[in-house]
Amino acid sequence: MVYRININEERCKGCKLCISVCPRNVLDLGSSVNDKGYSFVTAANSKQCIGCRACVLMCPDLAIDVLPKATRA
């Protein structure tokens, strides 16, 4: 399976909870900041994602979602 990782950059506060629970080191904090002044997460290694949704469960700000990529698309 391949997964699409959606990150809402404006909601993300760069807390790294998602990063800390990702079993595959998919995520990382980017270097730019959003309008609120927060650095936000990027899916640096999205290919490694196994769709476990641990990141989604732990994100306090509903800033991340992981969806199976329509494989055919």
């Binding site: 609120k36 002044g37 927060y38």
Partner: protein, 187 residues
């Protein structure tokens, strides 16, 4: 003589501290001073500001409606405070963070790359001290010595390293401003 100053930015940018440094310095030179922070449900992010009034006589309002100076650390603060600036007022902003800002209708504007200067001095996050240095260059009563003394009062000796960086940043801001002035003068 009274001087009123608003410092504004995001929480965490050292806005309140910058005001404290100026207030303590004012006290050191024997002037009256009031320092008034914006206080919100502080634990939440968002903007932050403080008002400092320095005077030779008794200070009436610690709340400022027409600031003589503004030190601006982010864009929302620019939008909020620059309209209050009266003719002859002065705004000093960190142009690394305050981008796309529409220009002023009145007053003087000084934009300096405070984050870059702070980074050069050792810590990009200490842009507030750069602005403070720049401000001091415009205030004859606010000497580097007084700033240093004030900083020493406020920073516990345990955090000696912070003090050093702060001092460097102040110096960088001050120098930048003096050079600019020089430049203007030679224009």
């Amino acid at each position: 003589m009274e001087h009123s100053l608003i410092i504004a930015g995001f929480g965490g940018q050292g806005v309140l501290f910058t005001g404290r440094v100026i207030a303590e310095a004012a006290l050191l030179v024997g002037r009256n001073v009031t320092w008034y922070p914006s206080y919100g449900p502080e634990q939440r992010g968002g903007t932050c500001n403080c008002s400092v009034v320095i005077s030779d006589t008794v200070i009436g309002s610690p709340v400022i409606d027409t600031p003589d100076s503004l030190l601006i650390l982010n864009r929302p603060s620019w939008d909020k405070f620059t309209p209050m600036l009266p003719e002859g007022g002065c705004v000093i902003s960190n142009c690394n963070l305050v981008t796309d800002a529409r220009s002023l209708l009145r007053g003087n504007e000084v934009a300096l790359p405070a984050s870059d200067l702070a980074a050069a001095a050792g810590d990009r996050r200490v842009a507030n001290m750069v602005l403070l240095g720049a401000f001091s260059a415009l205030q004859s009563w606010l000497s580097p010595d007084h700033i240093a003394a004030s900083l020493k009062r406020l920073i516990s000796p345990r955090h000696r390293e912070l003090l050093d960086i702060d001092l460097k940043c102040v110096e960088a801001g001050r120098k930048f401003m003096l050079q600019q002035r020089e430049a203007v003068r030679h224009d």
